[in-house]
């Protein structure tokens, strides 16, 4: 125990004297979260949309005026032919088209029910998504004012062109939080071990009576404390800068963060067993973790639309499970009964990585 404290004490001294670690630790996450966060929550102002009014009657005119009056859109009405939409999209200036069918007013009056088609250019799915939701709000207002209070009165038929699958924009903030937490945690431990190797102090530690498990634990504990502080910073940014809702229990959220951070720190140690310099460790944890994590965690690209082999691969990415967990807790407010499976998988991954790291540490000595 005494040896363990001597070790942890030394680690804290390293941390507080090494500006680089401190900058990585506290600066990078804030910069990244803010950068990523603002880059994806674009406000809509004067978005160019195309309205194809096939009805050209009282209600359709009212609806179009409503859209214009909202101030979010600049409306083009220069065609009555739905076949032009393809060409307009290809010009690239218009991201969304609204098609009002010929029978619009008639349907509304006779059946209390009408259809509107929204076609979006999903090469830029997020913008399309945002415009669509703004537009839906306008339609809702229209229903209310015209007395058709039932939301089913107007059936909005959205068709995402070019990209049939699309996920909610809430995906991004939890995704960014997850990836940054993971990168920073893994990078810290991998660099600190690589540095010991670079300086030759690792050799001395191996000759000393310190057991590999104590070395590993001694590397994890100080960075666990820092990573948790870090997680708090990121969480606060998510809550107050990006207005993420927090519907679930904080205790549950912190427990899950603890498990995920632990897994990431161990992953960093595993990386350090194969890298001999700080640069290698940094690059490996940055490139080796960032790409698979961003691509396969479901953060940007929906996993369900991937080929089977990639879907299976994504199962071993801890971030995938953590994103599911964090979204469930924050957005849906669910309890542990709904996410125990993901939690167990995450714990399983952490234990597996730990065993592998201890093994690797020992193998290196053989």
């Amino acid at each position: 125990m005494k040896t363990f404290f001597a070790f942890v004490n030394k680690e804290f001294k390293h941390i507080f004297r090494d500006r680089r670690t401190l900058i990585i630790l506290f600066g990078m996450p804030i910069v990244l979260v803010v950068l990523f966060g603002f880059a994806i929550t674009t406000e809509i102002n004067n978005a160019k949309i195309q309205v194809v009014d096939l009805a050209n009657d009282v209600y359709s005119t009212k609806l179009i005026n409503k859209i214009k009056a909202s101030g979010y859109f600049s409306v083009k009405e220069d065609t009555k032919n739905i076949n032009d939409i393809e060409r307009i999209f290809q010009d690239g200036k218009v991201k969304l088209a609204v098609v009002i069918p010929q029978s619009f007013s008639k349907d509304l009056i006779n059946t209390n029910y009408a259809q509107i088609q929204i076609i979006t250019d999903a090469t830029d799915p997020n913008t399309s998504n945002i415009i669509t939701s703004y537009l839906s709000a306008v339609f809702k207002q229209f229903e209310m004012e015209e007395g058709y209070t039932l939301s089913t009165n107007l059936e909005i038929n959205t068709r995402m062109k070019y990209n049939p699958l699309n996920k909610s924009v809430y995906m991004f903030v939890p995704g960014v939080m997850t990836i940054i937490l993971m990168l920073v945690s893994a990078m810290m431990t991998s660099i600190t071990v690589a540095r010991e190797k670079e300086l030759g102090t690792m050799e001395i530690l191996l000759v000393s009576p310190l057991k590999p498990s104590i070395i590993i634990l001694g590397k994890i504990v100080p960075y666990l404390v820092l990573s948790l502080i870090n997680a708090m910073t990121i969480l606060l940014l998510g809550l107050f800068v990006f207005d993420m809702p927090m519907l679930g229990s904080y205790l549950l959220l912190f427990t899950e963060i603890f498990i995920f951070v632990l897994a990431s720190l161990i992953l960093g140690l595993l990386i350090s067993t194969v890298s001999n310099s700080q640069q290698t460790a940094m690059l490996l944890s940055l490139m080796g973790l960032m790409l698979p994590t961003i691509l396969l965690s479901g953060f940007i690209f929906p996993i369900s639309s991937m080929p089977k082999i990639l879907q299976y691969t994504s199962d071993i990415i801890p971030a995938k499970w953590f994103i599911i967990i964090i979204k469930s807790v924050m957005l849906k407010g669910v309890g542990i009964t709904y996410i125990w499976k993901e939690t167990l998988i995450l714990i399983g991954i952490a234990i597996f990585l730990l065993v592998l790291t201890i093994k690797k540490f020992k193998v290196r000595l053989e």
Binding site: K2, T3, F5, A6, F7, N9, K10, K13, H14, R17, D18, L199, G200, T201, E203, I204, L205, L206, V207, S208, P209, L210, K211, L365, E366
Partner: protein, 242 residues
């Protein structure tokens, strides 16, 4: 007087695939002596030292250090040896005193023991005035002396020095050897590797290693006579040429 054996090695071999880094070496080191483990770069000295200090396991053969088996009793063994690598490995971002505290700590010394040891050590090295200086601000030759003192802070039975004088000027080297003699007086056995043949004259006994094998072992005078040479350089050249 019967000599007490502190290192005993029998047919020790370390093979990496077909390549034998250390090939069937056997020797003994006695308590209180300075044992010079000489050889060119790549002769297998570092591999041998790694087996003796319990960092790597041997492919075949066996040995004991300070009475503990090098493959089976590593934990005990590690408590009883000191080690200094050719990089003088100290933490650059810690002060002299903090390094001493850390190394004392991982060898399980109490706070009081560490303070007593540190006081004695700083006195001997005349470094009291820089005890709170960061290692990165201390010159190389001084670091080397500190690294050695730290390696023996827990009073090991044997200290292994892996090329402790590489990259240091001759005067500092001489001063460093004074520290080694001091350690021997305190009852520590010294196992030192070097590729400076002239340093052999500081050792009580010398082994000459070439291509993973020990070609000759004995006192300086014995080797000079055996190979009919005037200096260790000559001995080395004669052995290397076969």
């Amino acid at each position: 007087m019967e000599k007490e054996t502190v290192i005993e090695v029998k047919n020790l071999t370390k093979a990496y695939g077909a390549f034998k880094a250390v090939n069937d070496i056997s020797f003994e080191v006695y308590k209180g002596e300075i044992f010079g483990f000489l050889g060119a770069n790549g002769a297998g000295k570092t591999t041998a030292i790694k087996m003796l200090t319990g960092i790597i396991t041997s492919t075949s053969g066996d040995g004991s250090v300070a009475g503990y088996n090098i493959n089976k009793q590593r934990d005990k063994l590690k408590e009883n040896i000191g080690y200094m690598s050719q990089k003088f490995s100290l933490y650059e971002d810690l002060t002299l005193m903090e390094n001493v505290e850390f190394y004392g700590g991982i060898y399980g010394l109490s706070k009081k023991q560490i303070i007593d040891k540190a006081t004695l050590m700083l006195d001997r090295l005349h470094m009291n005035h820089i005890k709170d200086t960061l290692i990165s601000d201390i010159p190389l030759g001084w670091k080397q002396k500190i690294a050695f003192s730290v390696a023996i802070i827990h009073d090991p039975k044997i200290v292994f020095l892996d090329e402790p004088t590489s990259g240091v000027d001759p005067i500092t080297r001489r001063q460093f050897w004074d520290l080694i003699y001091q350690a021997v007086e305190d009852g520590i056995t010294v196992f030192v590797t070097t590729h400076y043949m002239d340093e052999a004259e500081y050792c009580d006994r010398i082994s000459m290693m070439v291509d993973g094998e020990i070609y000759a072992i004995g006192s300086l005078q014995y080797l000079l006579n055996k190979y009919d040479s005037k200096t260790m350089d000559e001995v080395f050249i004669k052995i290397a040429r076969g």
